[in-house]
């Protein structure tokens, strides 16, 4: 996992290494300075030697400056490295997501991809910076302080060497007790967020059923369990600080006691004792820091895992070795196609589908919810790969096309469609970057969108809010159709794309498509009989299988499902009309 993450360091490797290097040098300076300070006291102040004080003072200032320089440099490099690392991570993740197939996106889920790209990256960025600085700093500090203090007086150094394992074991004990609770707390936090989110989304339901108290109770229970767990975890954690103090104070007192005896026995100077005490504090501090880093790492580990989840996910749709770059015509053929989202033969969504559509035909697909209409058409632009069998477009297996070529010739208007923040023009030009304004107007006329666009004060320059929230559902659908038309595709698939459009406009759109782009194969998934009855061919789907194919007239005579749908919708209307 770490290997995968570190791949994203790349050009910031230098800054990362320099951070560790400068931190090390800074620490060395920090360790030497107390030693010089001891000398200053012993040979300067103690001896009343003013010139020595000056001499040593200047040396000390120089060392402090060097330490400052290294410290500043390490700060700079750490910022460079961590911000850069985060940049690369985001970049790598975003690029990999662009390669994802629909199946990949479904697997990880859109919401999760977003959190991973935002919150998780930020977490890892701060952890990385912390690790670069602290995780190097503390051990280096520990080692150098030990060397220095043993240099001063080995006997006394054993005192705080004995304190280290006590502190280490104590901290380990605290952490290992706390960590599982924290893990649980974060899960409960997810639950809390979920309740709030569901509540926000379903506030109309809550209020309609007057369930405010019920929701409060639900929230209160989770809130309370967070309270309980968090208190428990932090109460455990509260032992760390006193433990640290205990070790610190104990070594201080022991040093004082034995130090005093040694000084009296002329084995130690006062200055040396002061330095030893300083080193003892530095060592214990660095251990404390190390334990903080440890906590930090365990917290960010979950984030790191989630990021690697994206980086390591391989798209299950790849271009074949020598792809085709032209699509001959808009004919479509399905050959014994089986399809399952889970790639599991026992959970097939489409079962032995055989289909032959000629170029330029208008084909309607009708069927109940869950009858796999959408699954069927998604195989044509190769949004998913078939589990078994073959799909041919223009006589060539879709797997042998260059994916981009295939998708620009097969335009699909998705059921759950999205407009992006930007002007109408910008949104439409997704279909064709270089389209002229005249072309934009033409496709909008076809999609019956020109009228309402002209009604906006800014016309084609009207700004669409994120998600298209400032246009109505029907308007959105028409803009999406226009956007797809701009691709001038050989095959156009409308997946229930006019459900929010009134019947009259719906009819106008279909007429425009029939008259203006006769060469394009048109596949229309619809729920209204009126939207499908003039098609060249109507496919009736039932639980993943093709139940019948035929024209309106044929199906009216032979197909039960079709008749049923027809009668349920047309009922009285037929008699009156």
């Amino acid at each position: 996992m770490i290997k995968q993450l570190l791949k994203s360091v790349r050009q910031y490797k230098r800054a990362s290494i320099l951070t560790s290097l400068t931190v090390t040098l800074e620490v060395i300076m920090e360790v030497i300075i107390p030693l010089l300070m001891a000398d200053l006291i012993d040979y300067g102040i103690d001896a009343g030697n003013m010139s020595y004080i000056w001499q040593m003072g200047i040396v000390l200032v120089i060392f402090a400056m060097i330490s400052l320089a290294f410290g500043a440099l390490s700060g700079k490099y750490a910022a460079d490295a961590s911000a850069g690392f985060a940049r690369n991570l985001r970049h790598d993740m975003f690029y990999n997501v662009q390669k994802f197939s629909f199946a990949n996106i479904d697997k990880i889920s859109t919401a999760s991809i977003i959190t991973r790209l935002t919150t998780d990256v930020t977490n890892v960025q701060y952890a990385y910076q912390m690790i670069l600085r602290m995780a190097v700093r503390s051990p280096v500090m520990l080692v150098f302080c030990l060397i220095m203090s043993f240099g001063i007086n080995a006997k006394l150094s054993w005192i705080f060497l004995a304190c280290i394992p006590i502190l280490a074991v104590g901290l380990y004990f605290v952490m290992s007790k706390t960590h599982p609770i924290f893990k649980r707390v974060f899960k409960t936090y997810d639950k809390l967020n979920m309740v709030v989110q569901e509540n926000l989304r379903g506030i109309r339901v809550v209020k309609s059923f007057v369930r405010e108290d019920y929701e409060n109770k639900k929230f209160g229970e989770i809130s309370n369990s967070i309270y309980q767990d968090f208190s428990k975890a932090e109460k455990n954690l509260a032992f760390a600080m006193p433990l640290m103090q205990f070790c610190m104070y104990a070594s201080l007192l022991l040093l004082s006691w034995f130090g005093a005896r040694l000084i009296v026995g002329s084995e130690l100077t006062t200055g040396q004792l002061v330095s030893l005490i300083t080193y003892a504090m530095l060592i214990l501090m660095s251990l404390m820091m190390l334990s903080m880093v440890f906590v930090m790492i365990t917290i960010s580990r979950a984030s790191a895992e989630r990021i690697v989840g994206i980086l390591a996910e391989e798209s299950d749709l790849q271009n074949c070795a020598s792809p085709e770059f032209t699509v001959n015509d808009g004919s479509i053929r399905f050959e014994n196609v089986n399809f399952s989202y889970a790639k599991d033969r026992n959970k097939l969504c489409l079962k032995s589908v055989n289909l032959d559509i000629k170029s330029g035909e208008t084909v309607a697909i009708l069927g109940g919810t869950g009858s796999s209409k959408t699954s069927l058409v998604q195989l044509i632009p190769r949004l998913y790969d078939v589990t078994e069998g073959n799909v041919f477009v223009g006589g060539v297996n879709v797997k042998n096309y260059d994916i981009e070529t295939l998708r620009s010739e097969v335009a699909m208007v998705l059921q759950r469609n999205v407009l992006f923040s930007g002007t109408i023009k910008e949104n439409l030009r997704w279909g064709n970057k270089n389209a002229s304004d005249e072309e934009l107007v033409r496709v909008c006329q076809l999609a019956q969108a020109d009228d309402f666009i002209q009604g906006f004060p800014d016309k084609y320059d009207t700004y669409i809010e994120q998600g298209g929230s400032n246009v109505s559902g029907g308007q959105k659908q028409r803009l999406c159709i226009a956007r797809a038309l701009l691709k001038k595709p050989k095959i156009l698939i409308l997946d229930d794309s006019t459900s929010a459009v009134d019947t009259k406009t719906d009819a106008l759109i279909r007429r425009a498509l029939r008259e203006e782009i006769p060469g394009t194969t048109k596949l229309i998934i619809a729920q209204r009989i009126s939207s499908v009855e003039d098609a060249d061919k109507i496919i009736v789907m039932e639980s993943g299988e093709i139940n019948a194919v035929g024209t309106h007239r044929e199906l009216m005579c032979t197909n039960e499902i079709y008749q049923e749908a027809y009668h349920s919708q047309v009922k009285g209307g037929k008699i009156n009309a």
């Binding site: 800074e26 330490s67 926000l200 509260a238 006193p242 007192l253 200055g271 930090m296 992006f420």
Partner: protein, 636 residues
């Protein structure tokens, strides 16, 4: 526990009232909090005593012992034991306040969270329609998180730092006024440096936040539309745009963190510089034997004093930089608290209703209230003169000249007058934005009308208690919202005390029983993520069953079938038909086929009623409805 969340930069000013209000939550734990303060004082005092101990050790014990030919260590031993006792008290005090503070912090947070959620429930629908859910969510996540850090960490640390500063200051004065003065001057200089660096860093943090917002916004939009990106092969374009934003973020983040990172070594080494200068000044003073003035009186500086003073001076500058570090955190947390309080101060739904819904029975032809659970309900209407009248709940709804607009200057409904007799079915037809949903929003008082009157069973709905009004109305919406939980729990949402049999009955009525029984765990199947594992139609059926179990006399069906295919619709329609039996129903539908059998169809255009009547009448009139109706078949 620092979660490394992105820092939000403090706003300029934090109002004093926010602090006061926050304190009122903390002082709820008056006893514990005062004990914590005492413990902090003890713990800090032990720390300060420790730094003084070095002086005593050197001056009072080591130096005399050095001169003594036969040194006796018993005095030193006693001193160390005493010191050990002081330290022990300090350690225990630290443990105590850390543990108690956790309870206070978590308790305060829980209270704030619960109050915030409870208040949120009370807010009018308008609040939810006009605020982004992400923003509201952040009150529960970011804002409470910074608040937690502040209460459990920053407050004790700052308090302890302030005490240390004061204690050390006097300790320093106790030793030497001159050297203290010198330290003060140096600290002043140090603070200036800190201020300028923090200011610079702050500037870049603001930029970083803005850039981060842009990147996150872009990610959200693109990933949400990822399937569209793929269909249009826009991957490369998306990557290019993303890189641009990402690079800008990297640049600002580097700058911001650089300044923040540099602060620590600068502070540390300024401390070192101060140490050296102090040694030189102190040394010069000691050697030249200049008179020293201190709180203890005047005399000369001793070696032990300087060593000790040097140690003290470090203890003085450390808490100062600690406070300046914590200060940002506190300001951030207070800004978060302010946002939370703002939500809590939002005016809740006004409800001046006094007419309530009660169980009733007929006694000798007179309607009276009863505690018993009857199937008969009545409006209890207390009058100003003290009398109480009871009106049977029937479900008659009348609008009289109603005007309404979501914003004051833009009316959405104009002069709407309509009536629905009990058990009548009323349908609304019209284009998007004609005001169909708005009418239903007014009946259950999600929004209040600007002008006119709405009467329910003859009572002005403004007089009816909102909860009771809503209890008497059932709603099925186009966007189905299910909650995480079992199917059973979801249906029971309509009537919390419904027995299992009542739930089955409601599901049967809604035509949902069949498919629920075929689910892997039947009624006990756990639904997650708004019932994502179910089809649109199945979810709608559950929501209909949910309304059915509540068994209200009036139902509002808002586009309940528009996103379902026609085959499923037939099934759902059957469920709805049985649900509509014997109830007053307001129905909004896209498909005219589902409204044909209404008692009255109301055609709306731009907030006005342009046609009304039953199907036959409207067809005969050959108006808008006729056009709409025939439009569906014009291709024949």
């Amino acid at each position: 526990m620092h979660k490394g969340a992105p820092m939000k930069m403090p706003r300029k000013k934090v109002s004093f009232s926010t602090i006061k209000r926050l304190m009122s939550y903390i002082t709820h734990y008056k006893l514990q909090f005062s004990l914590v303060l005492v413990a902090i004082i003890l713990s800090t005092a032990a720390g300060v005593a420790g730094s003084l101990f070095l002086k005593i050790l050197i001056d009072d014990y080591i130096e005399p012992l050095l001169l003594d030919a036969n040194p006796l260590f018993s005095g030193l031993f006693t001193a160390i034991v005493i010191m050990g006792g002081i330290y022990m008290v300090g350690i225990l005090a630290t443990l105590f306040y850390n543990r108690v503070m956790v309870v206070i912090a978590q308790g305060v947070l829980k209270k704030i969270r619960d109050e915030m959620f409870a208040h949120m429930q009370m807010l009018p629908i308008k609040y939810f329609d006009t605020h982004s859910h992400g923003d509201i969510m952040s009150h529960y996540t970011n804002d409470t998180d910074t608040l937690r850090q502040m209460i459990s960490q920053s407050i004790p640390q700052m308090f302890s730092a302030v005490i240390t500063i004061v204690a050390v200051f006097f300790a320093m004065l106790y030793m030497s006024v001159w050297l203290t003065l010198f330290v003060l001057i140096f600290i002043f200089f140090q603070l200036q440096v800190t201020k300028s660096i923090v200011g610079k860093s702050g500037k870049y943090f603001v930029k970083q936040q803005a850039a981060l917002g842009k990147v996150n916004g872009y990610i959200e939009e693109m990933i949400n539309g990822q399937k569209v990106v793929k269909v249009f092969c826009r991957e490369r374009q998306a990557e290019e745009d993303f890189d641009r934003l990402n690079d800008a973020l990297c640049e600002h983040a580097t700058a911001a963190n650089k300044f923040a990172n540099i602060l620590m070594p600068i502070m540390a080494n300024l401390g070192n510089l101060q140490y050296v200068l102090l040694a030189i000044v102190g040394g010069a003073l000691a050697i030249s034997g200049l008179p020293n003035i201190s709180l203890a009186g005047s005399g000369t500086l001793t070696l032990g004093m300087i060593a000790s003073f040097l140690n003290l001076s470090k203890n003085f500058s450390q808490p100062i930089s600690q406070v300046s570090n914590q200060f940002n955190m506190v300001v951030m947390a207070l800004a978060g608290a302010e946002r939370i309080f703002k939500l809590m101060d939002k005016e809740s739904e006004t409800d001046n209703g006094y007419v309530t819904l009660v169980n009733a029975k007929y006694e000798e032809g007179v309607l009276t209230e009863t505690k018993k659970n009857t199937d008969l309900w009545a409006w209890k209407h207390p009058h100003r003169d003290g009398t109480v009248t009871y009106t049977e709940l029937k479900g008659e709804v009348r609008f009289y000249n109603v005007d309404f607009g979501y914003a004051e200057d833009k009316t959405v409904l104009n002069n709407i007058t309509l009536y629905a007799e009990p058990s009548q079915k009323l349908a609304f037809v019209g284009a998007t934005g004609a005001g169909k949903t708005t009418i239903t929003n007014l009946i259950n008082r999600f929004y209040d009308i600007a002008d006119g009157k709405i009467r329910y069973d003859g009572i002005d709905i403004k007089k009816i208690k909102k909860d009771d009004l809503r209890h008497s109305l059932g709603v099925v919406l186009q966007d189905v919202n299910l909650f995480t939980g079992t199917v059973m729990e979801n249906i029971r949402y309509g009537k919390l005390d419904a027995t299992d049999n009542e739930v089955y009955e409601a599901a049967r009525l809604a035509n949902a029983d069949d498919f629920i029984r075929r689910l892997p765990d039947g009624y006990n199947m756990v639904l997650q993520g708004n019932g994502g594992s179910l089809s649109q139609g199945q979810r709608q059926l559950i929501s209909i069953a949910r309304a059915a179990v509540a068994d209200p006399p009036v139902m509002i069906l808002d586009e309940a079938t528009s996103s379902i295919d026609t085959r499923t619709e037939t099934i759902v329609q059957k469920g709805m038909d049985s649900l509509m039996q014997g109830r007053t129903v307001f129905i909004i539908a896209h498909r005219l086929s589902s409204v044909q059998n209404s008692d009255a169809i109301i055609v709306l255009e731009q907030g006005r009623i342009i046609e009304r009547g039953n199907h036959e009448k409207l067809i005969a009139e050959k108006g808008k409805y006729y056009q709409l109706y025939t439009g569906a078949f014009e291709l024949e």
